[in-house]
């Protein structure tokens, strides 16, 4: 969980640096840094469980013990202290190890992380942790990314000296709609407890019983049901808290992680898609301190099952005599193009979507300009915001649509509907929108159309009314960029291949434009972005590579992100490292 | 025209080609596999017999695998006859025939028995009793190289091409040694009719075993020195001429995939295969004829089994044929034995051996023979 460098505003004031000896080497660190962070900066890994930079540090796992020493002070009557060969005061090593996660560094101290003392401490802590730990690794979802496994390989003894019976605790316990708890595996690090109380403001977890019998549990009559509960699964260093959805679906070492962003709302939380052989198995948050810190809402992270579902459109279809039949892309495109060419520009409307990427929106705009279409709008989609990450705007790319299409979302929808009623608009292109749902069109309105060109990822009611249906790729199957609510330009990456004959939206729009106007020249998403960057001033000088994994601030907004505001606050107070 | 001569010649051709040489080729291919297997402590093909299970019986009759050549032949016939697109069609088709035909033609002058009495007439057991036997054999068998060169060239592909080039240079080189090494023999006989050469040996002891008739002379025994040299050079050259291991460089699979017949499949490949074995058989027969008395039975002269005894005694004629075939078979075994013992030569070694040693030695040998013939009476 390294703190990613963020482009910050004004240059930070110079910080005081202190000298610290790390494993015999003198280095400089900013004053007040936690030992564990200073060691991380020096590329020294300290095994730890309870410490999490975004949470308070109770120091209860004792895994991070290191040997420390203070600079020698002059003995009474002496003016000079003994110096080492670098000219620093000699270090008086403490006979007791100290935890690195909660202590801060000061001038002249020394830290050793590989001494015999430290190794003995780690060995001892590991042995205690493993005394009652079950041999569950073969069925434990955490295996492969488990702190306990990793550190017991590095610091454990390999065999057990414990001959008594292990303590039995509840296993396979559903403590919330999305969380399964295995108490035997819990190592009492309390990360989950701290998360629920400090971040999610839903303190439902706690320890009961004492000593070896301590168990983690929910408060009486409560369950871990808040919309951020799955974050506890991510931060639990062991397999005690597991996701009921991901449970037993795939071992983590088979998963290919693809860096992308969530398209559930305008927040654009950074995430990783874990997939294997074209099947998505889970989505986990990816730290971005300008967007989502290290968290993500449950809703966004579980909203991927439709990608592999039966409801996906897999083939273009044409409606003939009221019946849809499968067609080739070529035929479908030709039919759509003929219909568009036959209509007057004023008779055509394009309903785009705030769920499309910038590249797709740009090609939509180009298609509209080529056809001379002025009836162009997207469907606004609002919901409830929470005080954490979830944004009220449910379209992930409203900002992009405003910028590229130059429209005010939803302003033209009523006009278009009226004109359809009056028969002035006869042809509609619906891109990634079900016109009968949020857009609020009625069946009769659609019935009045001569041609409805419908491109979507899922089969739905308005597909049935369409004359031509094109299958599109979902967020997980395509590349592109989006602009989130705070004006940040971020990249989408493809984790899996499109199902069936589905194609990326930009490919569809390019081919449709080609079929209508004969223009071409775009072969890759990079090309599209290049053209976009040349055409829209805000993007000038950018390319996909420059955006990077964490995105770039593109537009100025006054929006703040509640979770980040509180995090800044706690960081300023020194509660967390951040 | 003597009708009897025509009919008997036709019968001889048919019997020798289809009754002796081709079955022998087939058996050779089986023998080769068996011999190599035995030398390597394996079993070799022992399965193919009469497939009784096809007719509902419980067990096949294995017959020691003797039917294997038939199965092989059938396989060759039934395999896809694939002609690659890039070859020169006409020559590509011509080449296999050019390999097989000369090998079979040379059989014509080899006497495979004394004579046999049929319908009261004495028929000499040789198809064409030419008075230029060895020359005919050399002339025709050297045509075989055209088949190989054509195959290499027409295949239009690098490995066959290299195989063809190697083959032509190898054959030309060894033909010289072959020709020179046979001169001492002809000097001694003073005759080029293979039939009379054998009859002479039958009466006066084999060249390499002058133990009866006029063989018991000092001259014949001293002549053994050049003759053994001739024999060795001749035999080795035959190995080289027939592309047999250790001189099988034209089809050296470690370097050239399969050499000149890389692009061939099915029956066309089989023709190369047949040609090679036929050449080996003819080579053996020639060696036997020149040096080891052909069809003659050792001491047959005294045992009443000489050439003259065949007149009126059909079984003596048959015995001669049997004797000849036995000798040839023994030689073929020798060919195989060498193949599964000696590693392949390098091409430069091969050339060195041919040009620097055999050529000179064979040449000197001619003079040595002449000297002996002149001085020792």
């Amino acid at each position: 969980m390294s703190t990613a460098t963020q482009p910050s505003g004004p240059a930070a004031p110079p910080v005081d640096l202190v000298n610290v000896q790390v494993n015999g080497q003198w280095l400089k660190f900013p004053k007040g840094t936690r030992m564990i962070e200073a060691l991380r900066q020096a590329s020294v890994e300290v095994p730890h469980y309870c410490y999490h930079p975004k949470l308070s540090s109770p120091g209860n796992c004792r895994m991070c013990l290191v040997e420390t020493g203070m600079p020698a002070r002059p003995a009474p009557g002496q003016t000079e202290v003994e110096k080492d060969e670098h000219g620093f005061a000699k270090i008086m090593w403490s006979p007791r190890a100290a935890i690195a996660c909660a202590n801060t560094i000061s001038e002249g101290i020394g830290i050793r992380t590989e001494s015999t003392l430290v190794q003995e401490c780690r060995k001892g802590v590991m042995e205690f942790l493993l005394i009652n730990h079950p041999l569950d690794c073969p069925i434990c979802d955490q295996a492969g990314e488990c702190g306990l496994q990793e550190f017991s390989v590095e610091h454990g003894r390999g065999t057990s000296r414990f001959e008594e019976n292990k303590v039995k605790k509840p296993k396979h316990k559903q403590i919330g709609p999305r969380i399964t708890l295995d108490d035997e595996r819990c190592i009492m690090c309390s990360r989950c407890i701290r998360f629920t109380s400090e971040i999610a403001d839903d303190p439902v977890l706690g320890f009961t019983e004492r000593g070896s019998y301590t168990v983690l549990t929910t408060h009486p009559d409560k369950e871990l049901a808040n919309n951020y509960s799955l974050n506890t699964v991510d931060i639990c260093p062991v397999g005690a808290l597991t996701s009921s959805d991901f449970r037993f679906s795939m071992r983590v070492w088979f998963l290919k992680d693809t860096k992308t962003v969530c398209t559930g709302c305008a927040r654009g939380c950074n995430m990783e898609i874990g997939s294997r052989s074209n099947v998505i198995h889970r989505q986990t948050p990816r730290e971005n301190n300008a967007v989502n810190s290290a968290w993500m809402c449950d809703q966004g992270r579980l909203d991927f099952h439709f990608v592999n579902s039966e409801a996906r459109l897999t083939q273009p279809t044409l409606r003939e005599n009221g019946i849809h039949r499968a067609a080739t892309w070529q035929d479908a495109l030709a039919k759509a193009a003929t219909a568009l060419q036959a209509a007057q520009p004023s008779q055509i409307a394009i309903i785009a979507s705030g769920r499309m990427t910038n590249e797709e929106l740009f090609l939509t705009k180009r298609l509209a300009d080529n056809l001379g279409v002025t009836h162009l709008d997207i469907v606004p989609r609002t919901g409830e915001a929470d005080n954490y990450l979830v944004h009220a705007d449910k379209n992930p790319n409203t900002a992009g649509a405003r910028l590229i299409l130059g429209i005010d979302p939803g302003s033209q929808l009523q006009t278009i509907k009226d004109k359809i009623e009056r028969g002035e608009i006869t042809t509609v292109i619906a891109l990634q929108e079900n016109l009968l749902k949020k857009a609020g069109f009625s069946e009769t309105q659609l019935g009045k159309l001569q041609t409805l060109i419908h491109a979507h990822v899922l089969a739905n009611s308005s597909a049935a009314a369409a004359s031509v249906v094109f299958p599109l790729a979902t967020y997980a199957e395509k590349r592109g960029t989006m602009i989130n609510a705070t004006g940040r330009l971020q990249r989408l990456n493809n984790a899996v291949e499109p199902v069936g004959e589905a194609r990326s939206g930009w490919e569809f729009l390019r081919d449709l434009t080609l079929a209508v106007t004969g223009q071409n020249g775009l072969y890759s998403i990079e090309d599209v972005f290049k053209t976009l960057a040349a055409a829209v001033p805000a993007f000038t000088g950018l390319n996909l590579g420059k955006i990077g994994d964490l995105g770039l601030p593109l537009l100025e907004t006054t929006e703040t992100i509640p979770v980040l505001e509180r995090e800044k606050d706690r960081k300023a107070k020194g509660i967390i490292v951040g | 025209m003597d009708w009897f001569l025509i009919i008997s010649s036709g019968a001889k051709i048919a019997i020798i080609t289809f009754g002796i040489i081709l079955p022998m080729v087939a058996l050779c291919s089986l023998a080769e596999r068996k011999v190599s297997a035995f030398i390597q402590d394996r079993i070799g093909p022992n399965r193919v017999g009469i497939p009784m299970t096809l007719f509902g019986a419980k067990k096949d009759i294995a017959l020691l695998g003797l039917v294997q050549p038939l199965a092989d032949g059938l396989k060759f016939l039934l395999k896809e006859d694939f002609t690659p697109k890039h070859v020169r069609k006409f020559y590509f088709w011509l080449a296999p025939a050019l390999v097989l035909v000369p090998a079979l033609l040379t059989v014509g002058v080899i006497p495979f028995g004394s004579s046999i009495q049929v319908l009261g007439k004495q028929i000499p057991l040789v198809i064409a009793d030419l008075s230029i036997g060895p020359l005919f054999v050399f002339a025709i068998s050297s045509l075989g190289v055209y088949g190989i060169v054509l195959a290499g060239w027409a295949s239009n592909s690098k490995y066959p091409f290299l195989g063809g080039v190697r083959s032509s240079s190898q054959m030309i080189s060894y033909e010289i040694a072959l020709g020179l090494s046979v001169i001492p023999v002809l000097m001694i006989f003073g005759d080029m009719n293979l039939g009379s050469i054998v009859r002479f040996q039958d009466a006066n002891g084999w060249l390499l075993f002058p133990a009866w008739g006029s063989g018991w002379t000092l001259q014949r025994w001293i002549l053994l020195i050049p003759l053994v040299i001739s024999f060795v050079i001749f035999t080795v050259s035959i190995f080289a001429e027939t592309n047999r291991a250790p001189f099988d460089l034209p089809e050296c699979e470690t370097e050239l995939v399969a050499g000149y017949h890389t692009e061939y499949s099915s029956m066309k490949f089989a023709l190369f295969f047949l040609g090679e074995y036929a050449a080996m058989i003819v080579g053996s027969a020639l060696i036997v004829t020149l040096f080891l008395g052909g069809w003659s039975i050792p001491f047959g002269h005294y045992l009443g089994l000489g050439a003259a005894d065949a007149i009126g005694n059909w079984w003596v004629g048959l015995l001669h044929v049997g004797c000849f075939l036995t000798k040839v078979a023994a030689f073929i075994f020798f060919f195989m034995w060498v193949r599964w013992t000696v590693p392949r030569f390098r091409f430069d070694q091969l050339m060195r051996l041919g040009w620097i040693f055999f050529f000179e030695i064979a040449l000197a040998n001619v003079f040595l023979t002449a000297l002996i013939l002149m001085l020792v009476k």
């Binding site: - | 022992n46 034995w337 013992t341």
Partner: protein, 176 residues
């Protein structure tokens, strides 16, 4: 540094190549004769003769799945064998054991377990890596089929071949 291997000095006789040639011919003829006498036979005539009886204990034949003495599937679908398998012959789909099942306490089992015997190289890595002693290489070596599909052993077939294995570590022992 380059080092030139000194060539052995050959006598004139040796340089003629004949002594070695004859030596070689002697050796091969020796083998030939011994074989004809029936002394050198080492080959077995499969399938009439089989060496099943003399298969060593450690022989690695087809990998199979086994159940324990209570007919519990030992495999818990940890997918380690799938991971370790060098030719990627194994495909596993894990599932949760339904609560009604006798062995619900074990929590996890394979829903599908397939070994592609065309891919398997009989290396035994799966047996070695299995933490549950659930997969074993048996002595079956004649794995044949007329279609590719037939050569993929599914869970049923694997248990059929594997059978029951008793007396091994049973980590679901309530005391442990």
């Amino acid at each position: 540094m380059a080092y030139t291997v000194p060539r052995p000095k050959l006598s004139l006789l040796e340089r003629t190549y004949f002594p070695t040639l004859i030596g070689g011919l002697k050796i091969t003829l020796g083998h030939f004769i011994r074989f004809v006498q029936g002394k050198g036979k080492v080959t077995m005539s499969y399938p009439e003769e089989k060496w099943d009886a003399s298969l060593p204990e450690h022989y690695r034949g087809a990998p199979t799945l086994v159940t324990d003495e209570h007919e519990r599937e030992r495999c818990v679908a940890c997918q380690l064998c799938e991971f370790i398998c060098p030719p990627r012959a194994i495909t596993i789909v894990p599932e949760q054991i339904p609560a009604a099942d006798k062995f619900a306490k074990v929590e996890k089992r394979p829903k599908a377990f397939e070994i592609d015997m065309i891919r398997c190289i009989y290396c035994g890595m799966c047996e070695e890596v299995c933490p549950e002693q659930a997969i074993f290489l048996r002595k079956d070596y004649a794995i044949t089929g007329t279609t590719r599909a037939e050569m993929v052993h599914d869970k049923t077939r694997l248990y059929e071949l594997g059978g029951i294995r008793e007396g091994l570590v049973n980590k679901w022992n309530p005391l442990k």
